[in-house]
Symmetry: D2
Subunit: 300 residues, 4 copies
């Protein structure tokens, strides 16, 4: 197991009526820890369809993850919402359920344009859970908020003493590099673009967080281990296989509905379909992708 952290951004289990299905979370944790060698989860994030859930549903899910993961996995709970009030409520709740950390994305209805506004916003969320380690979740392709992460984190410890790092889901690697080079060593930069993880690691990322690690965790642990041993050829080999899988999946419109069904097919878990506005994946599409998966990746 590498020093660099590997985090799975979890899917939210639904039943066939798209209602939250807590019963799958225990088995999900077993699958991640035992089959994939994943020791950290990022719950209620993009992969978890968080903003498609009500606040009450997000609480239920976060609680179940924290209880079932207790002692087995680290749980980072994403509490980002469109509404500051909702985020504060979720942050408070994260304290109660003993989450290991919280993360917050920029709200993106009325788009803020300055690092100053974003920092004030993040500070307001953190102030509702002042003891919990805090991550900024940088994902400009989803939020449309293109403030560089380096500007967001500059001096942020003055505003958020528990600031701990960034889930960096962006492709601007100069921005990542400048985050890494300007930050205290105890901050973590977890790279969130699975298909180019190796590039993020080269630029100094401290780990990875993504959706494909739900079913590729054990292989990506090997990628990370190879990287840490400076065996770039081996790391690149695994990265290229991951790219080949995603390139193949893209032919089927690789959205969250497809991704979730691939996870169902590969893992045998029953995480159900996605919720609207995401459309369910035609079964044959996921099957073709799962077949490709098994061709590319043998048992770990």
């Amino acid at each position: 197991m590498a020093d660099k952290k590997l985090v799975a951004a979890t899917f939210t289990p639904f039943d066939s009526k798209c209602e939250v299905n807590l019963s799958q979370i225990g088995p999900y944790i077993d699958y991640l820890t035992k089959k994939q060698g994943v020791k950290s989860v990022f719950v209620n994030g993009t992969t978890g369809e968080s903003l498609s859930l009500s606040v009450a549903e997000r609480k239920m899910l976060a609680k179940e993850w924290c209880e079932k993961a207790n002692g087995k996995m680290e749980v980072i709970v994403h509490v980002g919402c469109m509404s500051l009030k909702d985020s504060q409520e979720l942050a408070k709740h994260a304290v109660e359920i003993k989450a290991d950390a919280i993360a917050v994305m920029a709200p993106f209805f009325l788009k803020l344009k300055t690092a100053e506004a974003l920092k004030l916003y993040l500070q307001e969320v953190s102030s509702a859970a002042p003891v919990l380690p805090f991550y900024y979740y940088h994902i400009p392709a989803i939020t449309g908020v293109h403030v560089p992460a380096r500007d967001v984190i500059a001096g942020i410890q003055e505003l958020i003493p528990v600031f701990r790092g960034v889930k960096f889901s962006g492709t601007d690697l100069m921005d990542l590099g400048q985050c890494v080079s300007s930050s205290p060593p105890q901050w973590s930069f977890l790279y969130g673009v699975d298909e180019q993880l190796l590039a993020g690691l080269a630029m100094g990322a401290d780990g990875a967080v993504g959706s494909t690690y739900n079913y590729l965790g054990c292989h990506v642990n090997k990628l990370i281990a190879a990287f840490e041993k400076h065996d770039l050829d081996q790391a690149r080999k695994i990265q290229f296989k991951l790219q080949e899988l995603l390139g193949f999946a893209t032919n089927f419109g690789f959205d969250l509905g497809v991704n979730k069904q691939v996870m169902n097919d590969v893992s045998g878990l029953l995480l159900g379909p996605p919720r609207l506005p995401v459309m369910p994946c035609p079964p044959t599409h996921a099957q073709a992708i799962a077949k490709k998966y098994f061709e590319l990746f043998t048992e770990c």
Copy 2:
């Protein structure tokens, strides 16, 4: 008063702590009806910072607007959220409080890509309030959902029998034209880009909905009246003054915080500052814009 409808997209009154301030809604209604000649409001929309509010706050606001407006104004309640469940809850509530209609924007966290998915989503919301007239709120610049409105409304009466029209806040006027030319006459297309309203009217829009009508309603009623009398020169004259005001305001970064403070300064109402992530407007900025307003527009 013109046959074509003029709708003010209302601001949400906050107190100095950015908490909802219901006490201003009565005076706000008086101002709109008596000073601006506006007979319809679009509540909890973009101007109302809706997604920056909790579901509970949106209910409080919608209820107060419906009660106080009763008999004086038509109230369209926007119930769009990121989460279908939240939207359904607000739609049900809109029935209880006797709203005149509801409107729903496309959710935009996990972006849908097809008209089919959007129609299914809208149908699910409408099904929670099956008696209420229903508007689709088309605002691609905010949502990033670029499905043409014409594709959304094609055959939508099969899915949503109470479908009534579109708040069309987009600049693709071929799309607007095709909506108009392909729709039954009882549907309404309310154009939502204030600075080019005249263009929307020329293309066949049935009215206007926007934030500047909070303080320019009486002048825009004249624009509409001139248009209906085929006096395009006069209509254009008013449109150009509105553009001049907005062009001037743009020099001060005309975002919702600025817009809201201009309303405060012009109307004398106490609608307070905006809520984060929107930053409050420096007083001198709003004052300069209000000054320009009074230079351009005399008493109605």
Copy 3:
């Protein structure tokens, strides 16, 4: 015939080897003047694949158009290039061949970001043909240069005494409105988005320039005439038919190759295929669109 000007943006005739075919220009002029009632052309613009031509080819074409159109049509020659030197050479040549006016788009390789830089650039081109009336060709969707036209034309008569107006091929109608309201009456704003011409006219445009007027000129002359008589219902009816045709064509990927072949099919002229990088249109596609054309539009 309306006071407002209708200008056809001409296709460039090629032979089957994609070499310039001057022999079709005479018949093309006859077709436009006699069948379409079009009295002005915009030569070597976007529709004319200008930047896909060499400087020598553009000269040949401009010369032939000026000679053959002499006394029959007004000829505006587009001399915009990526290279200022090339534009200056074409501007000089336009004087020699007695063009009626020149037009220049913003260069867009190394993108300028300020109105100041664009004005200096335009001034340099005009200085090579200081007697020729000069139009700025505003087409941000092609150039990616998003400087508002109103900023470009502010004070431009100090730099370009022969400045005459703008070919405004953009959808920002507040920008168009502010151009119109801030300009001396002798300047012309020719709207260049065919599918929403009526909106441009409502906002004060002085005419229209576009590719579809090659085969829809006579109908769009009627649209303009109806607009000038304040018969918006009639104008809208024609606009909606134009939109229906373009909407139908869009199903076939309505690019320049398709557009050119539709012109061939409708007019009977032999303008040939487009040049690479534009791909030729599959014949059945253009035929289907031409069929739709004849269904929608009867003889003028």
Copy 4:
């Protein structure tokens, strides 16, 4: 000196009237080879303001570079233009002047949308210089042509037997990875985003081409050497300094005019100002950046 190639994308020397100044090319070559340890140049590319030059000027420049570099440096001549004819003429000329290779970007006036069209276009250019090694120059941020490079190069050896590789100036590193993993070993992928070169190398790039290597070549050679020795910490240290310099420069609007003046100030060469539409750099801006340069980078 590393096996991986380092290529400087050269500036075009102008005199004070923005006319081509061939006399600086000899000294420029001496500077690159002796002071920077750079052995390859990419001439008439983006940095060289190529499309701001006439075809005749590009020929003069290419000829001078090839003659003066003969035996000292490899010369890749960029022959991409908006017009296929112009590109073919430059490709033919490149054979005459004994260039080592040519490169071509996608034309971007009438934007092609498919890999098929782009391949046909590139084939037509190569056919004018069928013996010269051929590179595709992938730079979507400039061209707006977002066809993945992997689709462009798939099977391209059937169309262009002399195909040799890609100047990959894009940030989509999955695309780069898939190019690398799907290509024969003799093809080269030269990464063109200087500020994240290390990421490109990690993903398998065979070298680097960029504008900053004009004045940072010797330091980036060390970065590459460190990378090849698997000393990522050292490589990252140099990369971070390059990022710091560019981050600092960005505060001054780091466009080509600024970049060129920094080169003048750092190298002592007299490359002159840029040509319109690029504006010259205020001297104090370049001086501040040059000062930063000398603080960050000591003699090589």
